[in-house]
C-alpha cells in the first residue's frame, strides 16, 4: 500500500497478470479418512513419533500504557531485526462517513499529499530516501496509518519526524483531491466489470439497510464528486484525534524509545476524545437478489448478521465455522462442493467480528449452468450442519488444528503488529490470544451447536448471485467417498 493505487483498488491489468502467472491453488480439501486413526499413524512414522508435549510458541511480552493525550499504546520488543513497525489504528473507517460515502477514505488518502513546505512528491522522496515504507488504508471499522523503518537512529529519527508531520499537519491540497477523486471514479468504472465486487456491494446494501456498514469504503460514484476539503478537515479533526487511536509498536526498540515515539506521535495529533460507539444493525430481510452479468461463472454470496468482536460466543463460533467452511480446506463445504462434485475452485465461510455486528458470509463461484443446484446444495449443507451440529471427531480435529496453527500466528513482526492492532482497537485484554486458545480447547459439541444456532438460521440468508441467466443442469452425483473418521494425529 505504498502507492495510492493499491487502496484505490485499481489493480492494474498487467500487474494482476504478473501475479497470477504463478497459478496457485488453495490447498485441496482434506478427504474424509478412509482408514482409522491408528492405520494412518501406522503408515506414517513421522506422525506416530510426534511428541505429545504441547507446542513451543513465541512468548509475547505485550507492554501497554496510555499517552498523555489518551492514546492507547501496545508494544512488543523484538531486537532480532534492525527494523520496527509502527501502526496507528483510528476509529475512522467508512462507518464514520455519515451521509458522505467515501469521506473517510479520501481523508486518509490525503494525509500524505501535502504538509507545510512539502508536496506529495517531496513527502514520498523523504520516506523512500530513508528506505522507510509509509502506508495507509481505510476499512469499514478503521483507518490505518503505518510506518515501517530501519531502527538505526539516522534512519529512524527523520522517518518518524516526517511521519509525525504527515499525521499532524496535513494540508489537504486541492489539486491532489481532484486527482484522487478521478482515480476513485476510474475505479468505480473498473468495478463494473467485476461481478464479485458488484455482488459484494449489493450484499452489504441488503444486509445492512441504513446501518453505516451498508456502503463500500471507496464511496460511490454519486458521493465522491461532491466531497470537499472542508469536510475532510472537519473529519480529520474529529476522527484523527489522539483519543481515537490505538498505537501498536513492534521491533528493535527499548521501552524508553517506544515511549518517546508514542508520545511524539500522540502529541502531533489533534486533541480530542474517542468517537461514540456505532449503532447495531437491524435484522435484514432474507431475500434472493440476482445481478445479470455476462460472465462464464456465477458468483454466489450468502450472508446474515454475525457478531461483534466482544461477543462471548466468538470462540465457539470460530470453531464451529472452521468445521463448516473456515480456513478453506478440509471443511464440510469444500468437501461436498469441490471435492465430491468438482463444482467450484473454492468455497469459504466465515464470521467477520467487528465493532458492530459484522457479517457471517459464504462465498463461491461456480459454472453458470449449475448455479441454482449449487445454491440449493449449499443451503442444505448449512441446514444439516445447524440441525446436527459438528461430530465429536470434527470437533477434536479442528481443536488440534487451531492449537497447531497458533505458533504461526505470531511468527513475524508484521503478524505481531496485526495482533496488537486488533487487541487495542477492539479493547481486548492483553491475554486475549492465550484466553481464546484455552477457551477453544474446552468447548463441547453441544456448546458449539448451541452457539451456532443462537446466531445463525438456514432461513435467514440474504443471497446475492451475479452471472448470466442460462438453462440449468442437474448437479452431478457426489463421488462415493467413505464417511469421515477420526484421524491419526496424536493429541496434544
Amino acid at each position: 500500500m505504498n502507492k495510492r493505487l493499491a487502496f484505490v483498488g485499481l489493480i492494474f491489468a498487467a500487474h494482476a497478470g504478473l501475479a497470477v502467472s504463478e497459478v496457485q491453488q488453495p490447498v485441496p480439501a482434506a478427504q474424509p479418512a478412509s482408514q482409522s486413526a491408528f492405520v494412518a499413524a501406522d503408515r506414517l512414522e513421522s506422525l506416530a513419533s510426534l511428541s505429545k508435549d504441547s507446542l513451543a510458541r513465541r512468548k509475547l511480552d505485550i507492554q501497554d500504557w496510555k499517552t498523555a493525550e489518551g492514546a492507547r499504546v501496545l508494544f512488543v520488543e523484538a531486537h532480532e531485526l534492525p527494523m520496527f513497525d509502527l501502526r496507528l489504528t483510528f476509529a475512522a473507517g467508512s462507518s464514520r462517513d455519515g451521509d458522505v460515502p467515501g469521506l473517510a477514505l479520501l481523508t486518509n488518502a490525503m494525509l500524505n499529499e501535502g504538509i507545510p513546505g512539502k508536496d506529495v512528491t517531496a513527502i514520498a522522496e523523504g520516506f523512500e530516501g530513508l528506505g522507510a515504507d509509509f502506508s495507509n488504508g481505510t476499512y469499514r471499522d478503521m483507518a490505518l496509518v503505518s510506518l515501517r523503518s530501519l531502527s538505526m537512529p539516522d534512519k529512524r529519527e527523520p522517518a518518524l519526524a516526517l511521519f509525525g508531520q504527515v499525521l499532524g499537519q496535513p494540508t489537504f491540497p486541492e489539486e491532489s483531491l481532484v486527482r484522487i477523486r478521478n482515480q476513485l471514479l476510474a475505479g468505480f468504472e473498473q468495478q463494473q466489470q467485476n461481478p464479485a465486487k458488484l455482488a459484494s456491494h449489493d450484499l452489504f446494501r441488503q444486509l445492512y439497510g441504513t446501518h453505516p456498514y451498508n456502503h463500500p469504503s471507496d464511496g460511490t460514484p454519486e458521493s465522491v464528486p461532491g466531497i470537499g476539503i472542508k469536510q475532510m478537515q472537519d473529519f480529520y479533526a474529529r476522527a484523527y484525534a489522539a483519543g481515537n487511536v490505538v498505537i501498536a509498536l513492534v521491533g528493535d526498540l527499548d521501552r524508553q524509545e517506544a515511549e518517546a515515539i508514542a508520545a511524539q506521535v500522540s502529541s502531533s495529533l489533534p486533541k480530542g476524545p474517542a468517537l461514540p460507539p456505532l449503532p447495531e444493525p437491524a435484522k435484514p430481510v432474507a431475500e434472493r437478489h440476482r445481478i445479470e452479468f455476462p460472465s462464464q461463472q456465477t458468483h454466489l454470496l450468502f450472508a446474515q448478521l454475525g457478531i461483534t468482536r466482544a461477543d462471548p460466543d466468538y470462540a465457539a463460533l470460530f470453531l464451529g465455522n472452521q468445521i463448516l467452511g473456515g480456513g478453506g480446506f478440509g471443511t464440510r463445504l469444500m468437501e461436498e462442493v469441490r471435492e465430491k462434485r468438482g463444482l467450484t475452485y473454492g468455497i469459504y465461510s466465515g464470521f467477520t467480528p467487528m465493532a458492530a455486528k459484522g457479517p457471517f458470509m459464504i462465498n463461491l463461484q461456480t459454472r453458470a449452468d449449475q448455479s441454482e443446484g449449487t445454491l440449493e446444495l449449499v443451503r442444505q449443507l448449512v441446514r444439516d450442519y445447524l440441525e446436527q451440529g459438528p461430530t465429536q471427531a470434527e470437533l477434536e480435529r479442528n481443536k488440534r488444528e487451531i492449537a497447531g496453527s497458533f505458533p504461526l500466528s505470531m511468527a513475524s513482526n508484521a503478524d505481531i503488529a496485526d495482533q496488537l492492532g486488533s487487541i487495542g482497537f477492539y479493547n481486548l485484554p492483553l491475554t486475549f490470544l492465550e484466553d481464546f486458545m484455552a477457551q477453544i480447547q474446552t468447548l463441547t459439541v453441544q456448546q458449539v451447536k448451541d452457539a451456532l444456532n443462537r446466531h445463525l438460521s438456514a432461513n435467514d440468508f440474504v443471497i446475492v448471485s451475479a452471472g448470466p441467466t442460462v438453462d440449468q443442469q442437474p448437479l452431478p452425483p457426489p463421488s462415493d467417498k467413505p464417511i469421515e473418521e477420526p484421524i491419526g494425529v496424536p493429541e496434544h
Partner: protein, 452 residues
C-alpha cells in the same frame, strides 16, 4: 499484487554487511548440501519463532510444455494432492490441516513448488509426505476427472472472467515469439479440454525426481537435524534421468509487434514490453542489474518517475507501473502498463507517447547520483524487511536455485547494484528500450469494437 520495487529486491536477503549496521542483529546462517540421489537442500536458520517452512521446488513449469500440452505442469500440481503410496487422495492435506500447518503449491513458467509452514517439531511430517509423492504418486483416474473440472473452473475464474488477465495472456503470447514463456500457466482452453491422465503420468515420470528438485528449509532448525531428516526420508528415493531442458531464449529484436484487444472492460489500458535478458541469460550481469535499477527509477515507489511525472505531474494516466523480473531461467521482459486518465480525456496514443518521453529521457541523460541513492536506500531497507517472513526467505532461495542461479549470489547483490553507474543505466536504456524489441497492446472495451 507484487510491487515492482519489492519484486526487484525480493531476492536480496542474505547476510551482507549493510552500511553502518549488519542486516540482522543476530547471526543467521545458511547451509547447503546435496544427497547422493541428487536432491539439493538449502537450510537457513531463523530462530525468532519456533516455526519452520519447508518448500520443495521442481525444475518444471509451463515454459517446459510443448504445443498441445499447455497447462500440464499445473494440472499435475493439482494431482499431487490426490494420493501416493502411503496416502489416499487428499489425506496428506487432511493430516497437515489437523497439525495446524499452512500448505499450498504454486506453478509458474519455470517451476512447480510445494510448501508447508508448521510448528518446528512437525517438520518430519512435511518431509515424509513430500518424499512419498515425489516418486510414488497414485494418479487415480476418477480423481483426475474431477480435478479436471476444478481446473476448468479455475481457468474461468482467473482468466476468462477477468479481462485484465485475459489481455495479459494474449499479450505474452505475442511478446515471446520463440520461447515457451508464451504458454499460459493455466493452459490454453483447447489444451485443457483434451488433457488426459496419461499426459499427466508421463509428465510426472519425466520431471519428478530428487535430482530435479531443491528442498528449502527456513526456520527454527539446526543443520544436523535437517540433514538427518532429509537423508532419512528423501535419501532412499532413486535418481532418474531427466530430459534436457534448454534455456528459453528469445529473439533479441523480433521487430515491433502491435496488438489490439477488445475485452469486457470499462476502461482502456496499454501494455508495453521489451525483450530483455534475465540474470540467468545475460552475458554481463551488470546489464541485468542496470535493468533492475531502471525499473526502480521508473516505478520504485510513489516518488519514482512514472508516478511523479505521468500520474501526478501531467495527470496523463490514472495508473501506471513498470517491472522487470530478473530471476527467470530464460530471456524475460521489461513491462510497462498504464491506463489513461479518462476524466481528463486522455487517449492511449497520448499515454504511449508519454511513456516514450520517459524512456527517451533515460536514454538521453543518466540519472543523478541523488536519485540513484534514493532508489538504493529502498533496496538496502528491503534487504532487512524481507527477513521478517520465513516464507519470503525460502521462496527467494528456491526461486534462485530453480532458475539456475545460486542462492550465494545474494551475498553479492548489494555490491552488484552499488557497482552500477548512472552511465550504465543510460547505456542499458539505449540498448533495450528500442522499437524493434517492443510489443505493444491496446486493450479496449468491447463496445468500441468495430462491426466486421
Amino acid at each position: 499484487m507484487i510491487r515492482p520495487i519489492r519484486y526487484s529486491v525480493a531476492l536480496l536477503l542474505t547476510a551482507i554487511c549493510l552500511p553502518g549496521q549488519a542486516a540482522t542483529n543476530v547471526e543467521q546462517r545458511t547451509h547447503e548440501f546435496t544427497l547422493d540421489n541428487g536432491l539439493k537442500v538449502v537450510v537457513r536458520e531463523d530462530h525468532r519463532a519456533p516455526v519452520v517452512v519447508s518448500q520443495l521446488w521442481y525444475k518444471v513449469g509451463s515454459s517446459f510444455e510443448t504445443s498441445g500440452l499447455t497447462g500440464l505442469s499445473h494440472m499435475l500440481e493439482h494431482m499431487m494432492f490426490k494420493g501416493s503410496k502411503k496416502l489416499g487422495p487428499g489425506e496428506a492435506s487432511r493430516i497437515l490441516r489437523e497439525l495446524g500447518a499452512e500448505e499450498n503449491a504454486f506453478t509458474g513458467a519455470d517451476f512447480t513448488a510445494y510448501y508447508q509452514v508448521l510448528a518446528r517439531d512437525r517438520l518430519p511430517v512435511a518431509f515424509e509426505l513430500e518424499a512419498d509423492r515425489m516418486t510414488g504418486l497414485s494418479l487415480p483416474p476418477d480423481e483426475f476427472k474431477r480435478e479436471h473440472e476444478v481446473v476448468t473452473e479455475e481457468r474461468r475464474l482467473r482468466t476468462d472472467d477477468r479481462p485484465s488477465a485475459l489481455a495479459f495472456e494474449r499479450f505474452e503470447s505475442l511478446a515471446y515469439p520463440s520461447s515457451g514463456y508464451r504458454n499460459p500457466t493455466i493452459g490454453w482452453p483447447s489444451d485443457l479440454q483434451r488433457m488426459t491422465i496419461d499426459d499427466a503420468r508421463t509428465w510426472y515420470q519425466s520431471w519428478y525426481a530428487p535430482n530435479n528438485a531443491t528442498l528449502v528449509v527456513v526456520g527454527d532448525v539446526q543443520l544436523a537435524d535437517v540433514r538427518n531428516l532429509a537423508e532419512h526420508y528423501f535419501g532412499p528415493l532413486q535418481r532418474r534421468t531427466i530430459p534436457v531442458a534448454k534455456q528459453p531464449l528469445e529473439l533479441n529484436e523480433a521487430g515491433e509487434r502491435r496488438l489490439t484487444l477488445h475485452v469486457r472492460t470499462q476502461l482502456p489500458s496499454l501494455l508495453m514490453a521489451f525483450n530483455v535478458p534475465s540474470l540467468a541469460t545475460v552475458k554481463d550481469a551488470h546489464q541485468a542489474n542496470a535493468l533492475r535499477l531502471l525499473s526502480a527509477l521508473l516505478d520504485g515507489g510513489y516518488s519514482a518517475r512514472l508516478s511523479t511525472n505521468l500520474e501526478r505531474g501531467e495527470e496523463l494516466v490514472s495508473q501506471v507501473s513498470a517491472w522487470y523480473d530478473a530471476y527467470t531461467r530464460g530471456d524475460t521482459l521489461f513491462v510497462i502498463g498504464a491506463s489513461p486518465n479518462v476524466q481528463k480525456n486522455h487517449t492511449l496514443a497520448e499515454v504511449e507517447a508519454g511513456i516514450w518521453r520517459e524512456l527517451d529521457a533515460l536514454r538521453q541523460k543518466p540519472p543523478t547520483q541523488q536519485e540513484l541513492e534514493r532508489v538504493r536506500a529502498q533496496v538496502i531497507a528491503g534487504l532487512v524487511y524481507e527477513r521478517d517472513s520465513i516464507t519470503q526467505q525460502a521462496s527467494s532461495i528456491g526461486r534462485m536455485e530453480t532458475v539456475g542461479l545460486s542462492w550465494r549470489l545474494m551475498d553479492q547483490e548489494l555490491q552488484a547494484l552499488e557497482a552500477v553507474t548512472p552511465e550504465d543505466i543510460q547505456a542499458a536504456a539505449n540498448t533495450f528500450f528500442t522499437r524493434s524489441r517492443m510489443t505493444l497492446a491496446h486493450v479496449l472495451p468491447l463496445e468500441s469494437k468495430p462491426n466486421e
